[in-house]
Subunit: 673 residues, 2 copies
């Protein structure tokens, strides 16, 4: 059976093995993602047979074609894992790979140092060293380093000196510099190449505020009928939102609302004549997804609203809800886009035996390409009207391959457009929506309230899924009012806001949060009199004047976020410990080399997540994770209260939820760190 | 910017998403592996938008081209993970993928059952059901099922019956059978295809026994010189090894041993005239890796030794140690295969400042293809001499790409040849050696002795790395005598053997273990008077007669392994708990459908890993992992002592290490389970 031909010398492992590159998506089917300004930990497993010295670099090709080389440093002993943190600065598609090499000089230097000290093979080692210097001098030919290396070689061979003296030339600063510039590498090995998509910063960093434009300026007449708020009246609310420090305003769908089977207050089946209907029941004789509800104004009014928001420093996020009221124009123009039942009727949205008779779901399988093209047309239309962020309603009820296609098509034409996936469903779907292209994702944050839940979940968001999923942690939405908020009072509202604003680079609030609106529809986790079905004008000024608003607290949180770049990173969250089961501790640190000032930025958050208690305990910090050496003590300043403390590895803390439930502590790093 | 052309409708996610196929290697660079007879858990994450019913199948193409379809079942709620266990029965390359589909009948049946019970849309649902039955009848055309389905359709439409009665036809056994044979599937989606390499059973399942042929029958003459044992004298030991139930004999290198710088007893630098030298210092004037040491016999004697072993039911595993004594023929024929130093000498193996002057390492980078071809020639030569298993010495000191190439070339010509990697080094290298093609691997087992160490490590071997790494857990080797064995006496030797033999499908013993040889060279984890450097004839019969041998215990262990197929699986180990920090509990179960008798095979091992103690505690079993329903009680029989117990979820256990440190309990499953 033995073959006499020479078999081909092919292999899938490199001369120096390089494996498990990070960041990458699980499965590596789509690029991993980052955002402009993000500091991303790169890593690879690099090793070789035997004991010779190795080196490795990340080679990063930016979208503009420029190439950066970042040396990797060896991590924990025995892991063969090499690391380097890199700040991504250009939006667009990056390509990167790892190069590994034998570090011939380092291998020799280690052996020579040990053997000459032991009196073994001294002459031989120095001869080898001289040969290496000669090789380096050749590499450095025609540069000033050549002479340095040639001189060093002569010293290395100078038999009149002691071996130790001859070896010492290896440590001469000019020799070291020459060898750094002209390194002695061999067995150069390249890994496979990976793709990293860098989005604009807003894809991952932002403070969101949701409100219903029709409620702002809405007025009820004496006969019980309503005058809807409009884009024009809603515009008046924008400066206050901006003043609280938010930078994105998200508004529910602005399209005509169906009349057939319109829902009444609290999701009742029949609407009265004065009920405005849910903006998620889209489409009427006034038009469909490309139209604007006449009660809100015109398309021009919408465009003006977007412009005014921008002037206030606010980006607009528009809802994209792909379903239709029974009177949506598509129902007559494209009945094939829905499911026709054997009796000729169109299938309502349903969860048997429940039926949602104000909504017809699209059936993508009936005319996949036709529906897809129409949705793309609509999205591009709103982009042309000034929208750069879409909050996509229930994306998990549409086929994933549609999203992959649609998001890619939009990205090609408008790489700055951001899509947020509003999917509250099982992890496989939520993670896959992010994997195929959504820029950010709603999360389980609202349902993670205990210390252990938060420790686990914040770590998952920051580390396990951060190569492809970017969280937008809303503390409430118009559909979510958790029991924690219903029964926790002001302390609960403060705790959740403080954690949301500091733990995630993007967080969000639905209007009314600042007024502690915490009455639920009985038996539900949703506000009573849900604004989806009603006008809900609020008297913001009166509430603030009466001290009944936590708008000042939210303003403080957004100011802290603005002032601390460490809080605008995703992957730098580190959980520390405390001795109390309700005292959550985490930090976010950005090393000085990534901060404009050159000084490290570090925040420690200590939160009492039991809003009904005052608690005292000891907090234990992992000083290394803070970039501090063991035993260090340092000053911290509470950015909520202004209090200052001297802290170290173990610190007494008392947090009374009824006073201030959360410390947000700035670490005062000494200069140069 | 908007494009007017239709963008291509391409995507990398399927209509029904299928992700995270298992088994596969991390990185999916090489096929995952299994062995003939192995029961492998297959899994995939399958889900879709909305609530409609799904189904999925593994489609497995065997090496002979036959195709098997295995329906996947949904796992834990919320995980979207689907599972099926499949027994691999053919050696060779398998290809597999997952197919997912919408289960249209199941979707309808769920909705119809709920809605008709609630009195909603009854007529409509039955009409839909009738349409589905018509579609199925068309699929079943020209089969007997067609009439069944057509009749069912008629019942479904029979307005004279109640809706409940019409719906009931959906559950008629003949209708169910017809729909199983002609399923109503849509949106069929295929995953990517993966490769699975199935090796012969011995690649993963075996009881190994190592001995030095030269010691068996060696005699010291009165003048102190030795008459070496030979293949002929060593043959006499084979029946006893076979009688203990071992099925592989592993012998150190059989090649001529170098004279230059030969090592003396206990690794001393100078050998006396009567010292045989280490068989790992390969090569002399008598030849190199292709030759046989004249003191052992001739190549023909070797071939005869292999044949006799086979007649005793023993396979031979030959050592492959790729390094040379200074007098190896390659040193003069191919000096370029070594590293020549500036002074013209050849570099010894070294770990500076230590030098190993009896060994020259090969330098693969000097003539990679020349060295590789020569090693392949030598391996093929020994294969032609009858060897089908190689134990590769220190593979981690040779380049990994060489192994990938060499193992592939051998596999193409001799797919039944097995290579064991003797690498004790860092995890990245050990796992990568397995990844690139080694069939089995030495492990850290000898250094994992406490309960928590073993729980963690046995789980890692059985689950985390089992898709590509198969453990060979030696309890000792000629180079490893751990402190645990040095100081634990007979109980330690029994505990380690019992765990090795039951936890891993392949385990091994180095001769002398049965005699409790436990004296170490001071300060080392190695036997004193290491057999590598000396003749070591043993009087087996006298030891057994004096009751000083645990050979009977080893025999019992191997008999239990032979009688219980559950112990010859890798991935079925499950760790249970006990209330004592030294009482380790695990089980291995093989469900009846994979056992020839049709009855489930289950073993529970309870080990007191503190060899200096008697301990009593409560053992807590995960009954579901044993294939038993909660609350079940069942009989177990201790296969070491013959004792019987009635067990349930929680069980009192007392293990006196000085009597029997380990229970190996057979579960007496009722018939039909």
């Amino acid at each position: 059976m033995a073959s006499t031909q020479t078999p081909p010398f092919t292999h899938r492992i490199g001369r120096i093995p390089i494996r498990f590159l990070s960041p990458q998506q699980p499965e590596n089917r789509w690029p991993s993602t980052a955002f402009v300004g993000e500091v991303v930990p790169f890593a690879a497993t690099v090793f070789r047979e035997g004991h010779d010295a190795l080196g490795a670099e990340v080679v990063l090709t930016n979208p503009d074609g420029s190439v950066e080389r970042h040396p990797l440093a060896q991590g924990a002993p025995g892991t063969d894992r090499w690391h380097v943190d890199i700040a991504l600065l250009q939006p667009g598609t990056h390509h990167w790979h790892v190069e590994a090499f034998a570090d011939d000089w380092e291998t020799w230097l280690h052996a020579a140092s040990v053997k000459i000290a032991a009196g073994v093979d001294a002459e031989l080692m120095l001869l080898e060293g001289a040969q290496l210097l000669e090789r380096a001098a050749t590499l450095a030919a025609d540069t000033p380093a050549a002479a340095v290396l040639t001189d060093a070689r002569a010293v290395m061979r100078k038999m009149t000196l002691t071996p130790a003296a001859r070896l010492a030339v290896a440590h001469d600063a000019r020799v070291v510099a020459a060898l750094t510039a002209h390194p002695l590498r061999s067995l150069l090995t390249r890994s496979e190449q990976l793709v990293l998509r860098v989005d604009r910063t807003r894809a991952a960093v932002g403070s969101w505020y949701e409100f219903f434009p029709r409620s702002e300026g809405a007025k009820q007449r004496k006969d019980g009928s309503w005058q809807s708020g409009t884009f024009a009246t809603a515009t008046k609310r924008l400066p206050a939102i901006a003043a609280m420090g938010f930078d994105v305003v998200y508004i529910p769908p602005v399209h005509p609302i169906g009349l057939t089977n319109r829902k009444g207050p609290n999701n009742t089946l029949t609407a009265g004549p004065n009920d405005p209907g849910s903006p998620y029941a889209i489409g009427s004789a006034d038009g469909g997804h490309d139209a604007v509800h006449p009660e809100l104004g015109t398309v021009d009014d919408f465009v003006e609203f977007v412009r005014t928001a921008a002037k206030n420093g606010l980006e607009l996020a528009l809802d994209l809800a792909l379903q239709c009221a029974p009177d949506h124009p598509w129902v007559t123009e494209h009945p094939e886009w829905f499911t026709t039942l054997p009796d000729g009727s169109i299938r309502y949205a349903e969860n048997p035996p429940k039926k949602y008779q104000d909504i017809y779901p699209l059936n993508f399988d009936n005319d996949y390409e036709g529906i897809s093209r129409e949705i793309l047309r609509i999205v591009l239309l709103w982009i042309e009207r000034g929208v750069r962020i879409f909050r996509v309603d229930n994306p998990h009820t549409k086929p994933l391959h549609f999203w992959e296609w649609m998001l890619r098509e939009v990205r090609i034409q408008y790489p700055d457009v951001v899509f947020l996936a509003e999917a509250f469903t099982r992890p496989a779907m939520m993670q896959s929506l992010a994997a195929v292209g959504f820029h950010q994702s709603y999360t389980y944050f609202t349902w993670r309230n205990t210390k252990s839940e938060l420790e686990q979940y914040l770590s998952e968001l920051s580390h396990e899924t951060s190569a492809f999923l970017r969280p937008n942690v809303f503390v409430n939405t118009h559909d979510i009012l958790t029991e924690y908020l219903q029964f926790g009072g002001v302390p609960a509202y403060k705790v959740r806001a403080a954690i949301g604003a500091t733990a995630s680079p993007t967080w969000g609030v639905y209007s009314g949060y600042e007024l502690i609106e915490n009455v639920a529809r009985p038996g539900s986790e949703e506000n009573i009199d849900n604004e989806k079905y009603e006008f809900k004008p609020r008297d913001w000024a009166a509430a603030e004047a009466a001290g009944k608003s936590i708008a000042p607290y939210l303003t403080t949180l957004n100011r802290i976020r603005a002032e601390h770049p460490a809080l605008r990173q995703l992957r730098n969250l580190h959980v520390h410990s405390s001795d109390d089961e309700a005292i959550l501790v985490y930090s976010k640190v950005l090393p000085g080399r990534f901060v404009r000032s050159g000084r490290s930025d570090g925040i420690i958050v200590v939160a009492n997540v039991d809003p009904h208690s005052a608690r005292a305990t000891t907090v234990h910090l992992d000083l290394a994770a803070l970039g501090l050496t063991p035993g260090t003590t340092f000053d911290v300043k509470d950015l909520i209260t202004g209090d200052r403390f001297r802290w170290g590895a173990d610190n007494y803390v008392r947090l009374d939820a009824f006073v201030e439930p959360v410390h947000i502590l700035r670490i005062d790093y000494p200069k140069g760190t």
